[in-house]
């Protein structure tokens, strides 16, 4: 892969909140058509790291390169300009707005007089949702009244509609049932085949092995390492997550202990 230009190249990212190092000297990269899983325990710094890419957090130091070019991402608008879309764990939906209102929030379609074109937005929302959730019909009611799966679909639809080249998914299946989880997995595969690079944060090691090409593991704000999924076992990844040792370094005894 090293002969190609990475879609995203984050180098030596540092973020600290009031003296606490949330992210310390972390470097990861992402290639087109690749799913990179970002895993680690609670407080490992995964969410903070991806927030520096989505523009929600500005890193203290470090560089971000998109397609080989150094970029400055200081707010979510910057990130979206570079084709970076983020599906947050909280979904980041305005509960009182309807589906088109949320999908186009911050990027509304307007008429030539600058007025909101609600009909055009509803039409576009219907087209995208047809692909993600064909049975969905409640376009005009506040999203607060929709189910978890429907809300998830809206958050995904928002990213898909704007032709993300880089998609960040923070626990996209945490709130979903098995059928909906499978739907999201299929969507990830189809987006991947379109050449979109996906960073997937997940607690579910099975999901990770099912979907990811490479796995980056974080522990206490530092990167333990990045491995190819095909080169490692689940136990070895668990060892990276829990004791922070790379597959070569970890002893058989330690692996036994992790298995209980």
């Amino acid at each position: 892969m090293s002969d190609r230009t990475p879609l995203v190249d984050m180098r030596n990212i540092h973020v600290s909140y009031g003296g606490v190092h949330a992210v310390e000297d972390v470097s990861i990269d992402l290639y087109p058509g690749e799913v990179l899983a970002l895993v680690g325990g609670n407080g490992a710094g995964k969410s903070t790291l991806i927030k520096t890419l989505s523009g929600a957090v500005v890193p203290d130091s470090g560089e971000i390169h998109i397609n080989g070019e150094r970029v400055e991402i200081t707010n979510p608008r910057d990130a979206k300009q570079y084709g970076i879309e983020t599906i947050y764990q909280t979904l980041a939906l305005a509960e009182n707005l309807d589906t088109p209102g949320n999908m186009f929030l911050g990027r509304e379609l307007t008429t030539r007089f600058g007025n909101l074109d609600d009909s055009a937005m509803e039409d576009a929302a219907r087209k995208v949702m047809k692909r993600l959730n064909p049975k969905f019909e409640n376009f005009k009611i506040p999203v607060a009244r929709l189910s978890g799966g429907q809300r998830q679909a809206i958050a995904i639809a928002r990213a898909v509609h704007f032709n993300a080249r880089i998609l960040i998914m923070d626990e996209p299946t945490a709130a979903l049932g098995p059928a909906e989880t499978e739907q999201v997995a299929n969507l990830i595969r189809s987006l991947k085949s379109e050449g979109i690079g996906i960073i997937l944060i997940s607690h579910d090691i099975h999901d990770v092995f099912d979907l990811a090409d490479r796995i980056s593991v974080m522990l206490q704000g530092r990167l333990v390492g990045t491995v190819n999924k095909d080169d490692v076992t689940m136990d070895e990844v668990l060892a990276m997550i829990i004791i922070g040792k790379m597959p070569g370094e970890v002893t058989q005894d330690e692996l036994e202990e992790l298995r209980g």
């Binding site: 707010n75 979904l91 305005a94 509960e95 009182n96 209102g101 929030l105 911050g106 990027r107 600058g114």
Partner: protein
């Protein structure tokens, strides 16, 4: 549908033959009418009829309704801005004091400063005064908004401070002296016997409004057909058009049924060379300018709230501030602009109020914040943020003014009026809390 002229009731009955009997609720839903707004209209009718009987038949008279409409205008104008402030999860407690400060400032400007520069009665004086009201109100609002949005002081505290500061400024401008009279053209903004559209103008406005209602319904229908969305039932469209137009024309008729006082009518007759008839001359007042301004403000603010990005962003901030930030919205500047808008509307209300009183006193606008906030809350604005409509708030302002006017007609003492307004405000919020708890279940 084959029947195009049938009133809603009949068409509905026809449908019951075809399918399961629709409930009133589902019929209203398919007509896309807001139940809460309809409930408020119902409440208003109950209040009006109640006061009419309790006041011995003096409430539902053209004279009382005309005066009520003039008095309601400033509160209605400010409530349209208060909706947006509350929707954004903020509050503005300073609007009454701001109204005082801005009103006093433009009163001094037009009564004591501009006549010396431009000459007494100069035709530009009223325009300069109104412009100054907008600018001053906007600047005060912007200042408060910037402190809320960028310094991070809660709006409750910033505007509570503002309540004291601007009241102090009101007094300080003239050291407590009352300023009067106002420029004669400026006075027309306050209504009064000459500050109205008259009979023909009022009917013209009424007919234009009816055409507007039909045009909006047809535009909405055309957009839906264009994108293949579900259409409103034809009976509902006709019903909305008929009821809406009837309400507009009925209101115009009431306004035209209140006549100029005899002495003013006599002056008019003299000016126009009409001989004074035996039984007196009945010249209809028509829609007063304050009401016209309030309606214009309501339409403009509804447009901003629903059709402009600014409005959409305010609602998104109220619904989920974090989501608004993550969507790339400049939430701070949006909040600052919301307070600035509120301030400009206070400027408009100040101009109308000073014009109506034909004077500015140091107590101008006292307790207006309570009426304005109550109007917004009664009109369905949730203090939790994110929810509220501008027409709802204007209806709420009408409810508040009806309560006050009704109590005046019944000779209720001023302190008791305050007690009632206070209780109504608490009840309105309690109803809102109850309603939302039920909706959440």
């Amino acid at each position: 549908m084959s029947v195009t002229q049938a009133p809603p009731g009949e068409t509905q009955q026809q449908e019951t033959v075809r399918g399961p009997r629709p409930s009133v609720g589902s019929a209203l839903r398919s007509a896309e009418l807001d139940l809460r707004t309809l409930g408020m209209v119902g409440l208003l009718i109950v209040i009006w009829i109640g006061f009419h009987f309790m006041s011995g038949g003096t409430f539902l008279t053209p004279r009382n309704l005309w005066n009520l409409s003039v008095q309601f205008a400033p509160v209605a104008i400010m409530s349209t801005g208060m909706v947006l402030v509350i929707v954004s999860r903020n509050i503005d407690l300073s609007v009454g004091s701001m109204l005082g400060a801005v009103g006093m400032a433009i009163a001094v400007l037009q009564a004591e400063i501009l006549p010396d520069i431009l000459g007494f009665g100069h035709p530009a004086i009223w325009l300069i005064a109104v412009g100054a009201a907008l600018v001053l109100g906007g600047l005060i609002g912007l200042l408060q908004g910037l402190i809320v949005a960028y310094v991070g002081v809660p709006s409750f505290i910033v505007t509570l401070g503002g309540l004291l500061v601007w009241r102090g400024v009101t007094w300080w401008i003239t050291a407590g002296r009352t300023v009067a009279p106002m420029d004669s053209t400026f006075q027309l903004l306050g209504g009064g016997s000459r500050g109205s559209l008259g009979e023909v103008g009022s009917w013209a406005v009424g007919v234009l409004a009816c055409i507007g209602i039909v045009a909006i319904l047809l535009y909405d229908r055309r957009q839906r057909i264009r994108y293949g969305f579900k259409l409103r039932p034809t009976w509902a469209m006709i019903a909305i058009a008929v009821v809406g137009s009837a309400a507009v024309l009925g209101a115009v008729w009431v306004m035209n049924s209140y006549y100029l006082p005899e002495n003013v009518a006599m002056q008019v007759a003299e000016q126009q060379g009409i001989p004074w008839p035996e039984g007196g001359l009945r010249i209809p007042m028509g829609i007063s300018y304050p009401v016209l301004i309030a309606i214009g403000v309501m339409l403009l603010m509804s447009f901003v709230a629903n059709q402009r990005r600014f409005g959409r962003y305010i609602y998104s901030i109220g619904g989920n501030p974090e989501a608004a930030v993550l969507s790339g919205i400049n939430t701070r500047w949006t909040i600052a602009k919301t307070f600035m808008t509120m301030g400009m509307l206070v400027g408009v209300a100040a101009a109308v109020t000073v014009a109506r009183l034909n004077a500015a006193t140091s107590g101008l606008g006292t307790l207006a914040e309570l009426y304005v906030i109550a109007a917004a809350v009664i009109g369905g604005t949730s203090l939790a943020g994110g929810v509220g409509t501008i027409p709802g708030a204007v209806l709420g302002a009408l409810v508040m003014q009806s309560l006050q006017s009704g109590m005046v007609l019944m000779n209720v003492d001023a302190p008791l009026q305050d007690i009632v307004v206070g209780i109504v405000l608490v009840i309105a919020v309690a109803v809102d809390v109850y309603y939302r708890k039920r909706a959440a279940q």
